[in-house]
C-alpha cells in the first residue's frame, strides 16, 4: 500500500519500502533511503540484495507490498512524475527494427515531449553520447556499447529532474565509462538528481556524493563516502631502520608494527606525530606517511560480513574494482 508523507526537500524519500513475492520471498524488508536534490546517489549491494527491485518500485514497474514516501514530491507510484524522470534499466532491450533516432523519438513521445523539442533534442543527445553518425542505422546493428549509450540518451530525452540508471556503464570500454562519468557530473551541475545502481564500485567512488549499501533487502550502510569510511582511516608510516629499541613503546601506543611499516588506526594525528618523533629520535629514517581509508568495496564486504554474522548468507561474487 502506498502512503503519502509530508512534503520533504528530498528528491527521493523512500520510507519502509517492502516487497514480498509469493509468501516467502522477501526482496525488500523495510528500506529507508533519502536522496537529496541535485546529488549523485549510489545504490550498491551483492546480487539478490533487492537493488533492482527497489529501482523498479521507484519506476512503477513493480508494485510494492508496502511503501511510503515521495519521489520528486509526489507519492511513490505517481505516474505524472514519470514525465520528469529518466530511466535506463539493466539488460534493456530496444526494438531492433527502429533506428537510433526513431527510438529516441518514440520514447520521447511516450514521455509526452512535444514534437518540436523531440526533434531538437534527439540529434543533440545522439551527438552527446557519440552516436550521431548512427542515428539512421537500425538498432539491431548496434554494438553493446552503442546500445548502452543510446539507452542513456533515451533516459535524457524528456530533460528529467531525476535520472535513474541501472548499471549505466555495462558494456562500455574505459573511454566510454569515462564519458559516462563526465556526463553524470555534467547533469549534476545542471541540478539534476542522479540515482545510480551499479556493481562497479570504483565508478561509484568516483562520482557519488552519497551511497546506500543494501544487503538482503535492508539498508546496511548509508551516507557520504567520508561518513562511511571515517571509522576505517589508518595511517601507514614507511620507515627504514631497526625498531627494536622502540618496539615496546610503539606497541604500547597501539601501533601495529610490520617490517618497515607502522600502522596507526584511527584519525589521530597527535599519535601519528608522536610515533614519527619516536622513530626519528632513534635514528630511523621515515620514507613516507600516508593516510588510508577503506574503499567502497571494503565497506561493502564489511557490511556483508556483519550481516553474515547476523545470520545472512552471502556467497555472491562482488564485482572487483576495475584497473
Amino acid at each position: 500500500m502506498v502512503g503519502v508523507t509530508e512534503m520533504t526537500n528530498w528528491a527521493v524519500d523512500l520510507i519502509d519500502v517492502r516487497k514480498t513475492y509469493g509468501r516467502s520471498v522477501h526482496a525488500l524488508r523495510g528500506v529507508n533511503i533519502q536522496v537529496g536534490a541535485g546529488e549523485i546517489f549510489g545504490l550498491l549491494g551483492p546480487n539478490g540484495a533487492g537493488k533492482t527491485t527497489l529501482v523498479k518500485i521507484m519506476m512503477t514497474v513493480v508494485r510494492p507490498t508496502r511503501a511510503h514516501g515521495t519521489i520528486l514530491g509526489r507519492p511513490i507510484g505517481h505516474r505524472g512524475k514519470l514525465a520528469v524522470t529518466g530511466y535506463l534499466p539493466e539488460s534493456h532491450r530496444f526494438p531492433g527494427y527502429l533506428s537510433g533516432g526513431q527510438l529516441l523519438e518514440y520514447y520521447a513521445s511516450l514521455a509526452k515531449v512535444p514534437r518540436e523539442l523531440r526533434r531538437k533534442r534527439a540529434p543533440q543527445l545522439l551527438d552527446r553520447v557519440g552516436l550521431s553518425r548512427w542515428s539512421n542505422t537500425r538498432i539491431d546493428k548496434y554494438s553493446k556499447g552503442m546500445l548502452q549509450r543510446l539507452g542513456i540518451a533515451q533516459a535524457l530525452m524528456n530533460d528529467p529532474e531525476l535520472v535513474v540508471l541501472d548499471e549505466p556503464t555495462d558494456g562500455l570500454d574505459p573511454v566510454g565509462r569515462r564519458d559516462v562519468r563526465e556526463l553524470l557530473l555534467e547533469l549534476r551541475s545542471q541540478g539534476k538528481t542522479i540515482f545510480l545502481n551499479s556493481h562497479l564500485l570504483s565508478e561509484l567512488e568516483m562520482v557519488c556524493d552519497r551511497v546506500t549499501i543494501l544487503v538482503d533487502g535492508l539498508v546496511a550502510r548509508q551516507g557520504t563516502l567520508r561518513e562511511l569510511t571515517d571509522h576505517t582511516v589508518e595511517y601507514k608510516i614507511v620507515f627504514n631502520g631497526e625498531v627494536a629499541s622502540v618496539r615496546e613503546k610503539l606497541v604500547a601506543m597501539g601501533i601495529k608494527l610490520e617490517p618497515g611499516v607502522a600502522t596507526i588506526t584511527g584519525h589521530n594525528l597527535a599519535q601519528v606525530n608522536e610515533a614519527i618523533d619516536l622513530l626519528r629520535g632513534n635514528g630511523i629514517v621515515i620514507e613516507s606517511v600516508s593516510p588510508h581509508r577503506f574503499s567502497l568495496e571494503d565497506i561493502l564486504v564489511e557490511a556483508m560480513g556483519v550481516d553474515a554474522k547476523a545470520g545472512g548468507d552471502h556467497s555472491a561474487m562482488i564485482q572487483p574494482a576495475s584497473p
Binding site: 519506476m59 512503477t60 514525465a83 539488460s91
Partner: protein, 309 residues
C-alpha cells in the same frame, strides 16, 4: 500523442516481420491470378488464353454470369482467402506483439513512461487492428478492382467486408492477447485462439442443428444450453455470413441460394439454417460479440496492469 506513437510502433514492428510481406505477396498473387482469368462469351480463359474452358452457361450480359462471378468472389475469395486464410495469418502475425512488449528490458522502459498501463495495452491492441485493417484493405480493394475492371462485375457491398473482417479478427485476437499475457507465448496464444474458434463454430453449428430439427423439443435442455452458449460466444460464422450477404446485395446471387435443385430434405434444412442466420440482425450479431470481446479485453487489461515485471 502517446496512443498514436504506440499504434505507429506496432505497425513498424509488423513491417519488420516477414509475415507482413508474405500476406502482401498472397494478396498480390490472388489479385494477379484473378487478373489472368477472364469470362468470355462461351468460354472461360485462363492465363490470357493459354487454357480455355468452353461453356455455354455463361454469356456476356447474362445475369447468371454476374451471379456466378459474385459467387466466386464472395464464397471463394472473400470467405476462404480473407475469412479463413487471412484471419489465421493475421493471428499468427500479431500473436507475438504482446509477448515482445512484455519482455524483460523492454517492458521496464515502457512502464517507466507517464502512460497508464491500460493505455499502453490499448495502444498495442489497436496497433494490431491497424495491421489487419491495412492488409484487409489491400486485399479487398485489389480484388474488387480486378473483379470490376477485368470481369465487369462491380460489387460495392464487397468493400464492407473490410470492417467486418477486422471485427471478426478482433473477436479472436482478444483471446490471443488474453492467453499471451500470462503465458508470454505467441505459440500458446495462436493454438488456444484457433481452438476457441473451432469451439465457437461448433456451438453455432450445434445451435443451428437444434433450431432446424423438427424434433428439437426432445432435446429441450441441450437446445437451451446451446442457445445461451451461442449468445455468449462471438458469432464468427455469422459475421462471415453477413459479409457475404452484403457483398451479394449488389447482385442477384440470392437466386442461387433460393433455387431447389432437388427435394432432398438435407438441402431444405441447410437452406432453412442459412435463411435463419441471414435473418439475424447485424446489430445483434456484432453487438453481442462485442460484449464478449469487451469482457475479455477488460480481463486482459486487468492481468496486464496488475502484474509485476
Amino acid at each position: 500523442m502517446q496512443f498514436w506513437a504506440l499504434v505507429r510502433d506496432s505497425f513498424r514492428e509488423s513491417l519488420d516481420r516477414k509475415i507482413f510481406w508474405v500476406m502482401l505477396f498472397v494478396s498480390l498473387v490472388v489479385a494477379g491470378a484473378m487478373f489472368c482469368i477472364s469470362f468470355e462469351p462461351h468460354e472461360i480463359s485462363v492465363l490470357f488464353g493459354t487454357w480455355v474452358i468452353k461453356t455455354d452457361v455463361l454469356t456476356v450480359g447474362d445475369r447468371l454470369r454476374k451471379d456466378f462471378i459474385a459467387l466466386i468472389v464472395v464464397d471463394g475469395i472473400m470467405d476462404t482467402m480473407l475469412g479463413w486464410v487471412g484471419v489465421i495469418l493475421s493471428l499468427i502475425a500479431t500473436a507475438g506483439f504482446f509477448p515482445s512488449l512484455m519482455r524483460r528490458g523492454t517492458v521496464d522502459v515502457m512502464l517507466s513512461k507517464p502512460i497508464a498501463r491500460w493505455q499502453l495495452f490499448l495502444g498495442k491492441y489497436f496497433g494490431s487492428m491497424a495491421f489487419v485493417a491495412v492488409h484487409a484493405t489491400i486485399f479487398v480493394v485489389l480484388t474488387f478492382l480486378v473483379c470490376g475492371i477485368r470481369w465487369g462485375v462491380w460489387l460495392p457491398g464487397y468493400l464492407l467486408s473490410i470492417p467486418l473482417i477486422v471485427i471478426l479478427f478482433s473477436y479472436l485476437y482478444c483471446i490471443s492477447v488474453l492467453v499471451a499475457i500470462p503465458t508470454r507465448s505467441s505459440v500458446a496464444a495462436v493454438l488456444v485462439t484457433l481452438g476457441a474458434w473451432v469451439c465457437f463454430a461448433g456451438i453455432q453449428v450445434t445451435d443451428d442443428q437444434f433450431a432446424s430439427s423438427p424434433s428439437w423439443q426432445q432435446y429441450r435442455s441441450a437446445y437451451a444450453v446451446s442457445r445461451v452458449a451461442r449468445w455468449i460466444v462471438p458469432k464468427t460464422s455469422d459475421i462471415t455470413l453477413k459479409a457475404k450477404q452484403w457483398a451479394r446485395a449488389a447482385s442477384s446471387s440470392d437466386l442461387i441460394v433460393q433455387q431447389d435443385f432437388d427435394s432432398d430434405g438435407s438441402v431444405d434444412r441447410a437452406m432453412k439454417i442459412e435463411r435463419r442466420r441471414m435473418a439475424i440482425p447485424a446489430v445483434y450479431t456484432i453487438g453481442s460479440s462485442l460484449v464478449f470481446e469487451t469482457v475479455v479485453v477488460l480481463i486482459a487489461i486487468r492481468l496486464f496492469s496488475r502484474r509485476d515485471y
